[in-house]
């Protein structure tokens, strides 16, 4: 598979789309812009759209976004470089992300990372020579109960080991279909994924499971034990913690425990924030 060169000396980025591509991207962009009250909101999905075309946020893609939305290319680049999912070099067919945030790292994510990096011969944000895999260390992906977690093109591969992750990448590089633990029936390409993230449904929502084991463990345990939330018609006998049933006579006020305004005021901004909240609270009292 060929991958467009990024900043390889002697090679240049393609500078423009041909007419047909441009017309297609323009139609897609119009559909994106129509979803929002103000067109600039279309920029993030449009950058996903650019990646669905070029496999990264290309200079011509940035120029296209800028001209479509009436922005400068600098303004578009400023946004594109802020978000980690926008790639500044041509991405592999599959982004393989190993969670190495604390929980996954401790449970084995570091071991998976070490093994995969050796196995593939690439480091963070680097792509294998065949263009198949871009390897990344990723942050928490909200699946800690399935740790250690690997994501492939942002589909969940739960409860991984170094061997399972290496086998996964071998299959991807061999072009064999790979199924996530929780997700569609097979992993799609980076470009196809990017098109979905631009808001163009690929019709695969009904594929795969609704939940994995850890997600439903409480649901099943409760059913097994006969534990239920109080029923809607007034049965309040179950599931009430000790301090429970008293009516909530206290109305918590802004700035109480857990609020960011909980800390002592240290600057003028703090004081006026508090004043603002008090003002809002009194407005609120008047309304209710």
């Amino acid at each position: 598979m060929s991958v467009e060169a990024g900043r390889t000396p002697g090679q240049t980025h393609r500078t423009a789309y041909d007419d047909e591509t441009r017309a297609r991207l323009a139609a897609d962009s119009a559909a994106i812009i129509a979803r929002y009250p103000q067109e600039r909101s279309a920029l993030l999905p449009m950058l996903h759209l650019v990646q669905s075309e070029d496999g990264y946020v290309s200079p011509r893609g940035i120029a296209f976004c800028a001209s479509t939305l009436g922005l400068s290319t600098a303004e578009v680049s400023a946004v594109a470089t802020f978000y980690t999912q926008y790639k500044r070099h041509p991405n592999g067919e599959y982004t393989v992300g190993v969670c190495t945030n604390t929980l996954c790292a401790v449970m084995g994510g570091d071991a998976i990372w070490e093994h995969l990096s050796d196995h593939l011969g690439v480091g963070h944000d680097e792509t294998t020579d065949d263009g198949a895999i871009t390897l990344e260390r990723i942050e928490c992906n909200a699946a800690c109960d399935y740790a250690p977690v690997v994501m492939v093109n942002w589909e969940f591969f739960d409860n991984q080991t170094p061997d399972s992750a290496a086998g996964l990448t071998d299959a991807l590089r061999a072009g064999r279909p790979v199924a996530p633990t929780r997700g569609a029936d097979s992993v799609t390409s980076f470009k196809a994924m990017s098109r979905v993230l631009a808001g163009f449904d690929d019709g695969r929502a009904d594929e795969g499971v609704g939940a994995g084991g850890p997600t439903v463990i409480g649901t099943k345990l409760a059913r097994e034990k006969g534990w239920e939330a109080p029923s809607f018609d007034g049965d309040r006998s179950s599931a009430t913690s000790e301090a429970g049933t008293g009516g909530a006579t206290h109305q918590p006020q802004p700035g109480e425990e857990q609020s960011s305004a909980d800390r002592p005021a240290t600057t003028g901004g703090d004081v006026s924030a508090e004043a603002e909240q008090k003002k809002q609270a009194s407005t609120d009292a008047k309304e209710s």
């Binding site: 999905p45 939940a211 000790e242 301090a243």
Partner: protein, 443 residues
């Protein structure tokens, strides 16, 4: 009386095609919307206020009160924006909720929008969960086909559009004003408050920003009433919540229970600690909440009790670490996360998290100096409360609390690497032989 589980949102997550509209309706879905549309909008706000529902995204701000902060209608648009950017380390409740039963959220969005007079709602979901995004797009279309979204909803004359928007990878966009900037097509950086989003939010219009679980809890409140919701939980922390157990626990996963349940009770349900090992430390609500230890097993997990014990309930992300785990390693990794995710707008956070990471990395390598612990605490003091948003504050929480409870481990970092004190292979779920020195992991 021991607390038991109380599945409301999670009641049918194991059903066949749990995400489908017909499954949701077969389990009582959209009764809340029908009831809400028969009520006056302000009465829905009052009902949610009276339920005592507090924000499930971490801060615990009363949800109904937030709605009440919107100024009186001026004829212009007002917006609901759902924060589905779940990224706080350890937090893993909204993503499985939206994958398993997205209609809970969609019905909540419609009811909430009706209550606050919004006609265009947004769901900002992080971009790193492809299948969840697919499920949300489909859920909106199913709701539209059933007449729950669009014009003249269920013949009420009320109109609503819902746009599901995918982010692009930035933890900071979970901060509500950064999220709004991101949704406007900008770099996701927090805004100075005031004005609060209620006054000038999305496109500078009155806006409510709520967490997924908060909004998903609204239909139940409308059907069951405020007293039903208050029959669960404690006096000031009412209702049900998802408790997400992860780490060195036998059966990690989602446990939906009344607020006020304890970790001891939850651990019992989850089969105890892995291999019977001892609990060392845990987070009550994600990495930004100060850590707890075994002495906090009986702290009721409600906003007040956790706060009184020196932490925050946060997102109920219970990351559990046993005696094999180096607290220095854990805290260093979290700090690297905050360093990576600091948006760079405020100097104390941008520079401070870099300093913190460098100092912690040398402690983890066993190359700390005797002055490093004081340096860490001084840095934390210079970050806490000195930035626009809470990211910097959150970065200090694991450090100051870990030094409080495990100072000797940081002192040991002056002479012994963390992976010598606590060989990482003992913490992992499988056998392996570490092949790189610690420095390699951070390179």
């Amino acid at each position: 009386m021991a607390t038991t589980l109380a599945p409301v949102l999670s009641a049918f997550w194991d059903a066949d095609r749990s995400w489908a509209l017909e499954t949701y309706e077969a389990n009582g879905g959209y009764r809340g919307l029908r009831r809400a549309l028969e009520m006056q909008a302000p009465d829905v706000v009052t009902m949610v206020k009276e339920s005592g529902l507090r924000g499930r995204g971490g801060a615990g701000f009363p949800t109904g009160m937030k709605w009440g902060f919107l100024p009186a209608p001026d004829g212009g648009p007002r917006y609901l924006v759902v924060n589905a950017d779940e990224s706080e380390p350890g937090t893993c409740k909204d993503i499985p909720l939206m994958m398993a039963s997205p209609q809970h959220l969609i019905e909540g969005v419609i009811i909430t929008s009706y209550a606050i007079g919004c006609h265009h709602a947004f769901i900002y979901v992080r971009g790193e969960v492809l299948h969840v995004y697919r499920r949300l797009l489909k859920a909106v279309e199913e709701a539209r086909a059933a007449g729950y979204v669009g014009t003249d909803i269920l013949g009420s004359g009320y109109d609503l559009e819902i746009t599901v928007h995918a982010g692009a990878g930035a933890y900071i966009c979970g901060e509500e004003t950064a999220l709004l900037d991101s949704l406007e097509g900008l770099r996701g950086q927090p805004r100075l408050k005031p004005p609060f989003p209620a006054v000038a939010g999305l496109y500078a219009r009155p806006t409510v920003v709520n967490n997924v679980e908060s909004i998903a809890s609204v239909p139940g409140i409308v059907v069951g009433g405020a007293d039903w919701f208050k029959s669960m939980g404690t006096e000031r922390s009412t209702g049900h919540g998802l408790f997400s157990l992860s780490g060195h626990v036998t059966n990690p996963g989602q446990y939906e229970a009344p607020l006020g349940i304890t970790l001891r009770e939850l651990l019992d349900m989850a089969g105890g600690m892995r291999g019977g090992r001892a609990l060392k430390f845990w987070t009550p609500g994600g990495s930004s909440t100060p850590i707890f230890t075994a002495e906090h097993l009986d702290v009721p997990l409600d906003y007040e009790s956790v706060g009184a014990a020196g932490s925050m309930l946060g997102t109920r992300a219970l990351q559990i670490f046993d005696e094999t785990t180096s607290v220095v390693r854990a805290v260093t990794r979290w700090t690297e996360f905050y360093k990576h995710e600091s948006c760079g707008k405020c100097t104390p956070c941008r520079e401070g998290t870099f300093w913190l990471a460098q100092v912690l990395q040398r402690i983890e390598r066993g190359q700390g100096t005797p002055a490093d612990i004081d340096l860490l605490l001084d840095l934390c003091d210079n970050i806490l409360g000195r930035a626009f948003c809470a990211l910097g504050d959150g970065a200090t929480s694991p450090i100051t609390s870990a030094v409080q409870y495990f100072r000797e481990e940081f002192e040991a970092g002056c002479h012994t690497p963390a992976d010598v004190l606590f060989p990482p292979e003992r913490s992992a779920l499988f056998d392996y032989k570490p092949r790189k020195a610690l420095a390699g992991v951070h390179a």
